[in-house]
């Protein structure tokens, strides 16, 4: 079974390569269509002659395809070029802005997963009760309200009224310690987690209810399995597959969500870097960030597919 899953992993990783190429190629062409890197580098006061000179010296007058292939060749070797605004190499820049986003996403996703498992199993095993209806209403609200609005409400309530948490900013845990760093991360992580949690909870609840109706649950009861045993040994695993798939899809939501939440809470993360790079037409940075996002989403899908494969033996025979 392990070899089968490893083989699947290798196959899907291979299949992800064309996707990555297409995504980065499209981004490259689109960036050229909407702006002119030579003009950015030459500066606002440059004459058309100077711009043309810069364009030639950077090789930007060559066909787009040739330039893209150059970029791809360098990228494969780990060289994503340098910022057009003299902010250092693209990799250094990303390395500098990545930790806050990683921390924020990890906290938000973990919180959402734990909360959704707990609440989903509480209501999925006993649907229709007052707790179920209450959490159902919360979930609809949590799914419908955008996370930046949730962020502002949390700031209003927990930092302006109660003064429990800071209203924004980011502290490096290596410098100020985890206690302080987490204080700064709590509200942004919560506003990011709420939407994710609600979708996950509803998914897990729905698949639990469906699984509880399965004939095999009756078989387990017939054997004399306790209600806890029915949940943990039989129902939970079968109900987990759709939920895991949703978590995988949410990684994409997490990236766009982080962009908004970071700007609400003034966190110097990947979202902030993306905004700056797009506004400043810093093409190499934008290009690398898009490639990074695509890579993260593909990796998340790969991992969830493999988990689903492990959860559902019948699907192992396919594909």
């Amino acid at each position: 079974m392990l070899t089968l899953i490893l083989r699947q992993a290798a196959l899907r990783a291979l299949a992800a390569v064309p996707t990555l190429v297409v995504v980065t190629a499209c981004t490259y062409v689109m960036l050229f269509a909407i702006g002119d890197p030579a003009a950015v580098v030459a500066g606002e006061s440059a004459t058309p002659q100077q711009v043309a000179q810069v364009r030639h010296s950077l090789g930007l007058d060559r066909p787009v395809i040739a330039q893209y292939l150059d970029w791809l060749g360098n990228a494969v070797r780990g060289d994503f070029g340098a910022s057009l605004h003299n902010r250092g190499t693209v990799l250094d820049l990303i390395g500098q802005y990545l930790p806050p986003t990683l921390l924020l996403s990890f906290l938000a996703l973990t919180a959402a997963v734990l909360a959704s498992v707990l609440m989903g199993s509480a209501v999925g095993s006993r649907p229709g009760g007052p707790v179920d209806r209450g959490l159902g209403a919360v979930a609809v609200l949590g799914i419908a309200v955008p996370n930046f609005l949730v962020g502002y409400v949390l700031i209003l309530v927990f930092s302006l009224w109660f003064r429990w948490f800071p209203a924004g900013g980011y502290r490096d845990p290596a410098e100020v310690g985890w206690a302080t760093a987490l204080q700064f991360l709590t509200l942004p992580a919560a506003s990011l987690a709420l939407g994710l949690m609600c979708v996950q909870m509803r998914t897990f609840r729905a698949s639990l209810i469906k699984e509880y109706e399965g004939d095999y649950v009756r078989t387990a009861r017939m054997k004399g399995v306790s209600p806890g045993g029915v949940f943990f040994r039989h129902v939970a695993r079968n109900a987990a597959a759709p939920w895991v798939t949703v978590i995988g899809l949410e990684v994409g939501v997490l990236i766009t969500g982080a962009l908004l939440v970071e700007s609400v809470f003034a966190i110097p993360g990947i979202g902030t870097l993306t905004l700056e790079a797009v506004q400043g037409q810093d093409f190499p940075v934008v290009q690398a960030l898009v490639a990074l996002c695509a890579l993260v989403i593909l990796a998340a899908n790969l991992v969830t597919d493999l988990i689903a494969l492990w959860l559902n033996p019948a699907s192992r025979g396919l594909s």
Partner: protein, 328 residues
Amino acid sequence: MADAQAVLRVTGLTVELDRQGGSTPLVTDVSFAIGRGEMVGMVGESGSGKSLTASAVAGVLPRGVRPAGGAIEVDGAVDGGATGPATRRAARRGVAMVFQNPMTSLNPSMRVGDQVAEAIRLRRPGTSRREARRAAVEALDRVEITRPAERARQYPFEFSGGMRQRVMIAIAIAGEPSVLVADEPTTALDVTVQRGVMDLLDRLRLDLGLAVLFVSHDLALVGERCDRLLVMYAGELVESGVTADVLRRPSHPYVRALQQCTPEHALAVGALRPLPGRVPQAGEVRSGCRFTPRCALRTEECERDHPALETRGSGHLVRCHHARGSEE
């Protein structure tokens, strides 16, 4: 049947559906007994309450449905039926059940051997994992699954319908029950596979001395395999007795009508006689005989008085005002 040695004795079993503002009876006052090594058939249309009776005996009634009265006695141990976690008690009491749909009755993500081993460990709590696994392979061998050690490591999707039903039977007998409830165990299988599964049930009941309650809507199959026969209609027993007696001299007009709409009967007389109407739904039970609207013999008495289950000869019980008159 030697009634004194009954392994399973059901007395006045009533099953109700809980609803807001009251409850609806689904099974009313059902009594029967099954002896060691005996197979008793229970027949009736869909909605007659036969599956609910079976589920109540095995303690696996669906959510919202509960035993509201009567007693289920296994090996002399009485179970009031109305209170407590009836499910687990049923298993401990020694009742196992095989269900209608073998395709969905096994956990799809659990190895077949582990599903059998789980039943063994629940029956004998001290058993080690390894010991239970070995016993599971033995149980699979007992239900005539070839290469049982290898098959035990496979998942249900790797088994055909007939093989899955054999696994279900292995799970059922792994709990060392004295009563086996088989709820249409072969309905979802094709005819050749059906024969194999029925032969297996027959052999196991004789080898292990199981008391088997065999629920089916197939009169011919029940006639071929069962010692005695219970006929359900609208949640109550309408006729019961030794299979040969009941099928050769059916006393209740419902049983006669059932016989006349079987292919066997159609071949014999050249015409299929469908039974008009349908089984009354839960809650629409009338004051008189429940079969009245569909009955060819109905009289005012049938509309007015609910007939009692009365004895006609040795062990032959009938619930009909006109049972005597219908005798040839």
